[in-house]
Symmetry: none
Subunit: 213 residues, 4 copies
DNA sequence: ACAGGCGGGACAGCCCGTTATT
DNA sequence: AATAACGGGCTGTCCCGCCTGT
């Protein structure tokens, strides 16, 4: 919500203090979860003093985590929004590329940076209302993007929703396993079966439409 | 180390202090993860004093978590080991029942008790060697049980391993989403697609065997 | 780091929180040594909360001890620096007064407050790098002050250094014995022999200078 | 007091559990002081279970420390008792050898094992009655041995007592400085001046006796 | 908007000593 | 007569949030 703050007219590529905080929190959530990091450490990493956090985020640590979640989900969903723009077999291929990208990112970080949503999701309790709300929204956003792409392939709304939910399931579950295994095999397996499932399901629907008998 | 102290023929102290500690840790891992737990709270729940923890688990919190992981994975894998005992279509049906059971348990806890493996997996870092090792073993155990069942249906070792990995992926990913969503829909979707996948894959192989020509 | 905050011209908070902590630690080191002190007790004495300690001394207990050592050595060395300001026989007399002063202080505290350097020196191990470094510096500071005074009396650098080292030895050893004995006799004995030694050594050199033939 | 327990009739050079405990405590006192070691660590080093300590030493940690002090002082004083057995100049030479021996021991341990008496002396408070008593006795024992040797050289009782006290002072003070410095120089300096003092004092008295005029 | 001292509660770990079992 | 388990108090450390002064 706090706008671009100092729009930095021309030069000054340096990110704002607020952005650095959000970025640091997002990174920490990926690596160790919300309870695994201390604010002091986080502030040191962002090179920001104590006071500035409570200036930008009166809600404290939780509010910063919510901001980080919101920022991260956009980054994840971007390649998904592009999924449905093309037709036919292409969707499955793009899904494969999406998962391969996730595998590449995880591998590049030494299998340390997983999905920040998943970590917070498992740490949070009923009491963390804001967090839960932000997470529910985030996952819904992911499912919606996938569902829209699938609907454009001809699937019914309920069918697309169900498959979209399962693709998100595969994404999160495979990232989790890959992290522990220390290799990308779980992601490769997941990609293989998910792609087959998507291809097969969309083809069935396409056939049903073209051969109504 | 604690010998068969619970042999206690008739009336006994129910569970040993050690077991109560492991159980409390397992429960806490499901709800909030390793970093979200205070030992004091945990000890209070297990009705055990501070000193006894470091007697049974000189490695401290981490060692207790490892014990909890090992205990839990056995509980999860038990219904899986029974999966392959029967033939034909039954495997898919039993898989469905397994996931339905997970859904029931999650729902019964008010969507608070997820999979303890997943939470620790996402919180742990490269530095937590013992934890990572225990987790890797635990997931391998899950995959092995599923893989064995699939191989008994005629799948090749590599095919069975790949599908087993994906089933674990679906289990973990769906539990995670269901927890955030506060309903069992993600688990139902996952069950639907996974069961279809297993049925179809095993049937294909069965056909290939019966129609070799 | 804490600036000249105690400039406070007229009425002020007497001493800064930081200074109170250092003072409390110095006192505790004299009485019971580093390991015999609880931070809680120390903080209560300094009327400071827990968190403020790690703000001023991120290195924790050890860093506070180092600060206390540095502050104390200055207090000890001050009367020594004045030793060499006068000539002739006076040095030995001033040395006597220095040791008498130490005896008076020890006695006034009921033979509880010895030399903080000595206690930490004996408790510290190879691993306590910062402590050892601070102690080495502190003792070197003591020896340097004494050595300078002796050199001004005509002793060669090596002769002065050797005698200075022995005077420090006598100071620490006598304080230690007096503490256990519960009386100042060891200090009196030490003063007697040390003074004789210094007087005799400086006189020899003076004679050598005046009767070169 | 508990006698040699298992007298181990012929062979079995293995020390008794009690002796191993005392030895471990003495070693620990030299290195880190009474508060610097934990009983668990100490018991592990002595390969003894918890209960055996309170069997042999109902007084617990303190009682064990007292036993260690008593055992150690005998070891220190042994070469001193032999000091006075010879006449003339030899006493000073033997004193020199005693201090050189201390330097060798300290150096051999990497400047970690100092005098256990000194460390406990500085850690103890008024409240530690048993410890203080044992220490006072130990230091008195040291002074007595030295004083006896000096008296045999012709010094009066008070003169011998004063010089003996100062020799102990030099011994303790120099060990302390050498430990911090990480070299034996303080001990060498102390030996030099102490030997000169002893030689000169005994010679004076010898002259006084032979030239009564 | 920044800076940093303050506040005190909670954390994991370890302490020393005792009590039941073999 | 040895040992494992118990017991809970206390340690040093670090936590997150606040609240003054620039």
């Amino acid at each position: 919500m706090p706008p671009s703050s100092r729009a930095a007219p021309v030069a000054a590529p340096a990110t704002s203090t607020r952005d650095r905080l959000v970025e640091a929190m997002a990174d920490a959530l990926q690596r160790r979860g919300l309870h695994g990091i201390g604010l002091n450490e986080l502030l040191a990493q962002a090179q920001a003093p104590k006071g500035v956090l409570y200036h930008h985020f009166p809600g404290g640590k939780t509010a910063l985590a919510v901001a980080a979640i919101e920022a991260t989900v956009e980054r994840i969903v971007r390649p998904l929004d592009a999924l449905g723009r093309v037709g036919g077999d292409e969707l499955a291929a793009r899904l494969q590329r999406w998962l391969a990208g996730a595998a590449r990112e995880l591998s590049a970080s030494g299998f340390e940076r997983g999905c920040p949503l998943a970590t917070v999701a498992l740490e949070s309790t009923e009491a963390d209302t804001e967090l839960r709300a932000a997470l529910a929204l985030a996952f819904a956003r992911l499912r919606a993007a996938l569902s829209a792409a699938l609907e454009r392939q001809g699937l019914s709304q309920s069918e697309a929703g169900s498959l979209a939910s399962f693709v998100v399931t595969g994404y999160e579950g495979a990232l989790l396993q890959a992290r522990v295994a220390g290799n990308t095999e779980p992601l490769q397996h997941a990609a293989r079966w998910l792609v087959a499932l998507v291809r097969q399901t969309t083809e069935t629907h396409a056939r049903q439409r073209s051969e109504p008998t």
